[in-house]
């Protein structure tokens, strides 16, 4: 595809942002419908271009080469911008623009009547553009710029209802935690830069992604350098992808509008971390330490988040923890070397998780609440929402033959095979992932049963924390909301089977995605052989989880009320999210940070630094005053000044020169 078209992918949503915020909002007002149509049109075109990009990348069998453009060159410093269009980019483009398009269409109905309607679509355009820019970037600096813009976009969107204290706090929390992690990313970039001499000697630019790939091939990166660069990049990825122990912002981010959760916390921002690790996968592969760190953090996150999802009552929080847990899956896949499987899971997960979030928004639209304790019985009132939500849940739980099954199965098979071959860490994370799979099936069907089955329990009218603006009306959501649900349900069913089928499907060859992604010379993407045993095991585990949810919430064989009482300490631990928030706020922030480090630094600042600074200020100001005395306003004095100046210059030359 021509270069202009590739740039348009990024610039169309950006233009939509500019148009809405500079023209439409000032002229047509804050609730202008035009904003929505402009956004949908821009992202629709972007989606079409992304499909084009995918098709042309497939036919090119790998990377398409585009020229770079000098942005700034000052002295020795030169910075060029460009586009990297390779299979990873192409797949990510389709996922991001596709999900974003669905979310925008859905938002037309969901955000209807909100006083910040135009602002909402402006932010959405900005965010989508930032995400696409991150995917398209061909070098680290460009990537970092868009990486931060993604963070800014999420801050603006999570805090969209900034007059609600909880939303403002959540936005701040998300921004601070991810920004804290980005520091690691920046350090990784700097570390790479300072060790870039070998690259320069080969005529390679250490910031350019493809040059880094070449450098890895030529052995220009030592294992020690690669390790620290990889760990730095992974730190940034941990923040954005909400990996343990930096996951605490994601559940809070549910304070944003639900479509935002669907876009940011399903398909895009959280996937950015996984994307980043995948982008620098050759560097990670050089270092065993880095790979193991990724695998272990991923494994811990998968089970840790899933365990908290078991007890949450807020449907969006259940989905949020499930997202964190699934991101853990992707990370553990990357850590065990299953590059293809990780991207495959990212691909399928984006569709069914967006579907689930949008479904929860549809439920909220009817009931006015997100608390599942006040829902129930929506099955008959909202058939479309119910059916699509079931499809999403089955896919997430990993039931044959839905999308989630195939990608999850590939990750498990890969980890298991490595574990059997003697890699202990792979075996450990395999077991962690298997337990997480059980929990996932349980909490998803717990959510389905509590929301859609049984009797309706009053919705917003009973929930003291609900923000409902209109009375509860149990009916199906408008078409603009159900249509995206139905459209997203299609890939949630077939995307796994079609994209990376275990056998040839005629037009689509078997293991298509794995082969497609297998283009970086230094990375070998394994095509995991389908194992009936693992598939059966994971299916049984998933069915067990679903069955347990059925027994508890439909048959009430085990009472969901007595269970927490019986396991009070465990339940409290999970319900209070392992006290991680308290740990951060009380111990880390208040005691270590405020009372410890800050107090010490404050003393240094006040008694040493300030004294020096004040002295400098005093010196500067008083010198200024002293010099000002020369400025008498007398012309004779000025003429004298010129003459004396000339004489002094002469004198300096004659006597010193």
């Amino acid at each position: 595809m021509p270069e202009v078209a590739a740039w348009l992918i990024l610039f169309l949503p950006l233009a939509s942002f500019a148009l809405i915020s500079l023209v439409i909002r000032p002229i047509r007002g804050a609730e202008s419908q035009t904003a929505a149509y402009v956004t949908i049109m821009a992202i629709g075109l972007t989606f079409a271009l992304s499909i084009w990009a995918l098709v042309s990348t497939v036919s090119a069998h790998g990377e398409s080469h585009y020229p770079v453009h000098t942005w700034i060159s000052a002295g020795e410093f030169e910075f060029a911008v460009g586009i990297l269009m390779d299979p990873l980019t192409a797949i990510m483009l389709v996922v991001v623009s596709g999900v974003s398009l669905m979310v925008q269409i859905y938002s037309v109905g969901y955000m209807h009547g909100d006083s910040g309607y135009a602002r909402y679509f402006a932010y959405m355009s900005l965010f989508t553009s930032a995400m696409l820019g991150l995917i398209l970037a061909n070098n680290l600096i460009q990537m970092f710029v868009f990486w931060e813009l993604v963070g800014l976009g999420s801050y603006l969107l999570i805090g969209f209802w900034f007059d609600r204290p909880a939303a403002a706090a959540a936005a701040k929390k998300a921004f601070i935690i991810t920004r804290f992690a980005d520091f690691g990313f920046l350090l990784g970039i700097l570390f790479l830069f300072f060790n870039g001499d070998a690259f320069a000697a080969q005529g390679l630019n250490v910031f350019v992604v493809t040059d880094i790939y070449k450098g890895v091939e030529l052995g220009l990166l030592t294992i020690g350098v690669a390790q620290w660069v990889a760990l730095g990049i992974f730190a940034g990825a941990m923040g954005k992808s909400a990996q343990f122990p930096l996951h605490t912002w994601l559940p809070d981010a549910m304070e944003g509008p639900t479509p935002v959760s669907a876009l940011i916390h399903a398909a895009t921002m959280v996937a950015a971390g996984v994307f980043l690790v995948a982008r620098f996968f050759p560097v990670f592969e050089l270092s065993l330490v880095a790979m193991n760190t990724v695998a272990i953090i991923g494994g811990i996150t998968a089970i840790f988040a899933a365990s908290m999802g078991l007890v949450m009552n807020d449907i969006k929080r259940v989905l949020a923890y499930s997202t964190v847990s699934q991101l853990g899956y992707m990370m553990l896949a990357l850590g065990t070397g299953a590059y293809g499987a990780a991207i495959f899971h990212l691909f399928t997960h984006a569709f069914f998780k967006a579907l689930l979030f949008l479904g929860s928004g549809s439920v909220n639209h009817a009931t006015g609440t997100f608390d599942m304790r006040y829902m129930g019985g929506l099955r008959t009132a909202m058939p479309w929402t119910y059916i699509t939500f079931i499809i999403g849940s089955l896919s997430l739980a990993g039931i044959v033959p839905l999308a989630g099954f195939w990608s999850k199965d590939e990750i498990l098979t890969h980890a298991f095979n490595r574990g059997v071959n003697g890699d202990t860490i792979s075996m450990v994370v395999f077991l962690l992932a298997l337990i997480a799979a059980f929990m996932t099936a349980f909490y998803m069907f717990r959510a389905v049963f509590m929301t859609f089955h049984g009797n309706f329990k009053g919705g917003a009218e009973r929930d003291p924390d609900a923000h409902a603006e209109h009375p509860v009306h149990l009916e199906e959501s408008p078409k603009s909301m159900t249509l995206p649900l139905i459209i997203l349900a299609v890939p949630a069913i077939v995307a796994g089977f079609l994209a990376n089928s275990i056998f040839d499907l005629g037009v689509i060859p078997g293991h298509w995605m794995s082969h497609f992604l297998d283009y970086i010379p230094s990375v070998h993407v394994e095509t995991a052989v389908f194992s009936v045993g693992i598939a059966a095991l994971s299916s049984v585990v998933a069915l067990l989880g679903m069955g347990m949810a059925y027994l508890m919430y439909i048959r009430r064989v085990i009472s969901p009320e007595d269970m927490p009482n019986a396991l009070r300490p465990v339940h409290t631990l999970l319900y209070r999210k392992y006290f991680m928030d308290e740990l951060y706020e009380t111990v880390v922030v208040r005691h270590v940070f405020y009372s410890g480090i800050c107090y010490a630094l404050d003393w240094v600042d006040k008694s040493i630094v300030d004294k020096i600074v004040n002295f400098c200020g005093w010196l500067g100001a008083n010198t200024g005053t002293a010099i000002r005395q020369v400025q008498t306003g007398q012309m004779q004095a000025y003429g004298m000044g010129i003459s004396v100046g000339i004489l002094i210059i002469f004198a300096i030359f004659l006597f010193l020169g």
């Binding site: 700034i72 002295g75 010099i627 012309m635 003429g639 010129i642 004396v644 210059i649 002469f650 004659l654």
Partner: protein, 497 residues
């Protein structure tokens, strides 16, 4: 005078003609508001002539075209300044329209004087001969003296008087320097001076090769130093800046300074070959630069009048620009043009920034009749657009991204490092920190202090245009500086060839 000479002089001639037309039109029209419209529209004529000359140079195989008995040269260096000066004159006229209403009479003369001064400045960038340089210099100085006194109140008259007398002193000094150089080399043409100095093979011995040349060059530096308001020839600047009508102050700080640097570059690169005398003139400019930066910034810290503050700020910026003049040599062979191209880039960025700042100052002072920084309190609420623009300008003057001032400083400082002048960069950076104090104080007053009145500050369409042009230049070149940088590099390349 041949037809070719007319062609080469077309921008200057059309500009002078435009000034005369304005005065004549004034006689027949009642409605004086047509005058600025006519002036700004008329500026497109010299602009188009300059563009034609630029494309002529780009398409032909000559780098320069000589005319008027070899006293004038048209190359991309002089055209760069013509573009810059025309743009500056245009913005100054736009921002004057409201202000000029204060003068009951002589409105056309005001615009005409601005245009005459611009003509002189454009000639300054083109001349390659000492006498012509002097004449052009006077052509710029006299209209400015009249403009400075235009308000005809006590302060304005004082400032016009001061400018006239001190400018006469500096002209005398400059002429004396030229005489010595002429006496030593026997010619007033810059290339021939360079040739003569080359013939004398002056390496070693006293500074600048010989004491005669030293005296001549130092006197010329003093004369030009007055123009660009460099320490120790800067003392006129704050008084004149404060007393003059504010648009004239803007014109002085941008156009006059740019023309001064144009002629310094032309004379030094043209007549005093860098390969022989560079060490001495580099050292001189480095010292003047360090002094200008430091004194300008330190005194600015104590100002409470924004026009005076901007006066000291220009002195400091003259110091930053002199860094580029000091950076004559280069570590890497072939990179010698980084110093002069840095100067040109800085002048371009500084022009956009300072014009944006002054447009805002004019708009505000038209309304509140005060130039005290304390009276800018709460301006962010009274005039959000103006406050935003002034904030960006202040950020740019401090040298913080995403404004053009950041890149300008980066580029100049990297030129200095290339020329092994690390100590000067250290002084420059320390000075940038000091400058942040007083620039940001203006921002603080506008955003954090409570407004003294709730009255909105409104301003007319021409003013909006002036503010917008300055703002866009500052921001666009701050985000994407490459076009301006390439232009500056091309122009500097023409100077060195």
């Amino acid at each position: 005078m041949s037809a070719f000479d007319l062609y080469l002089l077309a921008p200057e001639l059309s500009l002078a003609a435009l000034a005369l037309v304005l005065v004549l039109v004034d006689l027949v029209v009642r409605n004086k508001t047509v005058l600025p419209v006519l002036a700004v529209l008329g500026l497109t004529v010299p602009l188009i002539f300059s563009l034609i000359l630029w494309f002529d140079l780009s398409s032909g195989d000559t780098m320069q075209m000589h005319g008027m008995f070899n006293t004038l040269v048209v190359d991309k260096f002089s055209l760069f300044f013509k573009f810059l000066l025309i743009a500056a004159a245009g913005i100054v006229i736009l921002s004057s329209t409201d202000y000029v209403q204060k003068f009951a009479r002589f409105q056309a003369e005001y615009y005409a004087l601005v245009l005459f001064a611009t003509t002189g400045m454009m000639l300054l960038a083109s001349t390659t001969e000492l006498i012509t340089i002097y004449i052009s210099l006077e052509l710029t100085a006299l209209p400015i003296a009249a403009l400075a006194a235009f308000m005809r109140d006590g302060r304005s008259t004082e400032s016009g008087m001061k400018f006239l007398v001190l400018s006469a002193i500096s002209s005398a000094v400059l002429l004396y320097g030229m005489v010595i150089v002429y006496g030593y080399t026997g010619t007033t043409s810059l290339p021939q001076i360079a040739e003569q100095i080359g013939n004398l093979s002056l390496l070693g011995g006293s500074p600048f090769g010989s004491n005669a040349l030293l005296f001549g060059i130092v006197l010329m530096i003093a004369g030009f130093g007055f123009k660009v308001a460099s320490v120790p020839f800067q003392m006129w600047a704050p008084d004149v800046y404060e007393g003059s009508p504010t648009p004239v102050t803007a014109f002085l700080s941008v156009a006059s300074k740019a023309a001064g640097f144009a002629v310094i570059l032309r004379v030094f690169y043209g007549a005093f070959p860098a390969d022989m005398l560079s060490l001495d003139w580099s050292a001189t400019f480095a010292v003047l630069s360090a002094l200008s930066m430091t004194i300008g910034n330190l005194v600015a810290v104590r100002q409470d009048n924004i026009k005076r503050l901007m006066g000291y700020s220009t002195i400091a910026h003259a110091g930053y620009i002199l860094v580029g003049l000091a950076a004559v040599t280069a570590r890497t062979p072939g990179a010698e043009s980084i110093g002069p191209s840095g100067v040109l880039f800085y002048l371009g960025g500084f022009a956009a920034t300072n014009l944006a700042a002054f447009s805002v100052i004019i708009a505000i002072s038209n309304r509140i009749n005060s130039d005290r920084i304390d009276d800018y309190a709460g301006m962010a609420r009274r005039a959000p657009v103006l406050a935003t623009v002034l904030t960006l300008s202040m950020i740019s003057l401090t040298g913080i991204p995403p404004a053009v001032g950041f890149w300008a400083k980066i580029y100049l400082f990297s030129a200095a490092i290339e020329a092994n002048l690390e100590w000067l960069v250290v002084i420059g950076v320390v000075n940038s920190v000091i400058s942040a104090y007083y620039y940001l104080r203006v921002v603080k007053a506008m955003f954090l202090s409570e407004p003294t009145s709730e009255e909105r500050v409104a301003f007319g369409l021409p003013m909006q245009l002036a503010v917008a042009l300055g703002f866009i230049g500052t921001l666009i070149f701050g985000i994407y500086p490459t076009p301006l940088l390439n232009l500056a590099r091309t122009a500097a390349g023409a100077l060195l060839s």
